[in-house]
């Protein structure tokens, strides 16, 4: 079965939030019949309009929230609850403000009781990889937004998760910083052969990074379409202006526009 060969497998996942109010219980269906998978070493983007339940899906995959229906399989076995096999990079700043960059990156390794020498070696390696040499002793509030997200990335990569879940990690950054983060991520992905599921609402970002894109519908979110992206690796910003890239961008834009219209019509 395909399930066992995939890194992560999402089967018929549905999520309904119920809120208790004065008038009774209100139910909001956020996800419906979500089916998707990610191969080992693949970078897949989940692209959808805002409010379609992307973050909810990431929270479910990370184990922070329970599914109402359906199951999640990691390397063929079902998972529930959070664990270091699924690293998360959040959209907001989620670094521990009382630890400096070095301590933030070392956190996961310390929890694993990795020997000190080995922690030092790995943390140094990742600080070099994210290009923050000389910033080890800086605390999060002394770092720029881009630097913080670099540390957040290094902090999860350091524990070598089976899959890296990224929830619009660069959405809050300015254009230039976002571009350099894309280059860094593409580099790291190739060097470490890390499996990545990347959530975004930015079509260009998805096309630049992904080997495959899942398009999500408006709420209740479900997978509308799976689109393989054929651009060769290694990719650089140069492909952004190529005709094929632009035509992909146009057709995905139109798909998403239809979703926006649909959600406004509701």
């Amino acid at each position: 079965m395909r399930r066992s060969r995939c890194q992560i497998n999402v089967e018929d996942v549905g999520k309904i939030f119920s809120k208790n109010s004065a008038t009774g219980t209100m139910e909001v269906e956020v996800l419906r019949d979500v089916n998707m998978y990610v191969w080992p070493g693949e970078m897949v983007c989940l692209l959808g309009p805002s409010g379609c339940g992307k973050t909810t899906l990431i929270n479910i995959l990370a184990g922070f929230e329970k599914t109402t229906r359906g199951k999640i399989f990691l390397d063929g076995s079902e998972v529930s609850g959070p664990g270091p096999d699924r690293g998360v990079v959040f959209q907001e700043d989620a670094l521990f403000p009382w630890f400096n960059a070095w301590q933030n990156i070392a956190y996961g390794l310390r929890q694993k009781r990795v020997p000190r020498k080995e922690i030092e070696r790995r943390v140094k390696m990742f600080i070099d990889m994210i290009g923050l040499q000389g910033f080890s002793h800086y605390f999060p509030d002394q770092l720029s937004g881009g630097m913080k997200q670099r540390v957040a990335l290094a902090r999860v990569l350091a524990i070598s998760p089976t899959i890296l879940l990224m929830d619009e990690p660069f959405a809050a950054l300015d254009y230039q910083t976002r571009k350099s983060m894309h280059e860094l991520l593409l580099d790291l992905w190739q060097n470490l052969q890390q499996t990545i599921l990347f959530v975004t609402h930015d079509v260009e970002e998805a096309l630049l990074l992904a080997g495959r894109i899942y398009i999500m519908s408006a709420r209740p979110g479900t997978i509308l379409q799976e689109i393989p992206i054929p651009f060769p690796w290694p990719r650089t910003q140069d492909i952004l202006t190529e005709t094929e890239f632009v035509s992909y961008k146009k057709s995905i834009f139109n798909l998403l526009k239809a979703q926006c219209v649909a959600s406004h019509a509701l």
Binding site: P82, P84, G87, A94, L95, Y107, I159
Partner: protein, 253 residues
């Protein structure tokens, strides 16, 4: 410069009304009498009074009571506060009772404390621990509630267990609030040590001012009050230094 205008004016007025005997010495002694008495209280040997050089002994007695009571309040207040802030169920069990006890003013406990513990060290320590407990508990609880969900989730996905989350996320996340609770608690401890010592204990700064009242030594009352302020301020500084040395970051304190 502006900040000196008012104190200097008051000092001059004080000197004027006492030097001209418009206000008699037994109501308000003049600045010179006060300074002399203060020097004698701290260093002795100026004139032979029962208070000569006794500051250190009294300050030490009060400090012992404050330290014991404050430590008790901290040991009880920080863990229960953190637990109540972190576990809503624990809060629902514990908080209503604590809030009910809190509505009794601390001073109202004095007679009962005297019945239970008699006069002396135990009563003072009980009153201090009781009074300092509430701000320490409340601020620790508030601090633990302020800990962002995303920090806990980060720790979880990085492999932290429940214990590690308490010590590496909740405690440091609540730290700034805990510190302000401890400082308020320390301030209250000095207020309540005076209350505890007003009831006829032989030593302590509170005992000194009560004793001086009975002997009509107004300058000693004032000197005692100033001494309590000084020692209280010093203890706040020491507490800050201590907390800074154990905090994850000194900016947190």
């Amino acid at each position: 410069m502006l900040s000196f205008i008012l104190p200097v004016a008051i000092l001059l007025l004080w000197f004027f009304v006492t030097a001209t005997n418009r206000v008699p010495e037994y109501i308000l002694p003049g600045p010179v009498t006060l300074a002399k008495g203060g020097f004698d209280f701290f260093f002795g040997s100026l004139d032979l009074s029962p208070y000569s050089g006794t500051f250190w002994q009294h300050a030490l007695a009060s400090s012992k009571r404050v330290t014991t009571g404050f430590l008790l309040a901290t040991i009880l207040g920080v863990p229960t506060g953190i637990a109540a802030g972190n576990y809503p169920r624990f809060e629902r069990i514990l908080d209503p009772l604590i809030q009910a006890i809190r509505s009794i003013p601390g001073i109202g406990w004095l007679p009962l404390a005297m019945v239970w513990f008699g006069i002396g060290m135990k009563t003072a320590v009980f009153l201090i621990a009781l009074a300092a407990f509430f701000p320490i508990y409340l601020n620790s609880m508030h601090g633990a509630k302020q800990v962002r969900l995303i920090w806990k989730r980060s720790a979880l996905m990085l492999g932290a267990g429940p214990c590690a989350i308490l010590t590496t996320v909740v405690l440091p996340g609540a730290m700034p609030s805990i510190v302000s609770g401890l400082r308020t608690g320390m301030g209250l401890s000095w207020a309540y040590v005076v209350l505890g010592e007003l009831t006829g204990v032989p030593d302590g700064l509170g005992a000194v001012i009560m004793d001086a009242r009975m002997l009509g030594q107004v300058q000693i009352i004032l000197i005692g009050m100033i001494s309590i302020a000084l020692v209280g301020r010093l203890s706040d500084r020491l507490l800050l230094l201590l907390l800074r040395s154990v905090a994850w970051r000194k900016e947190m304190v």
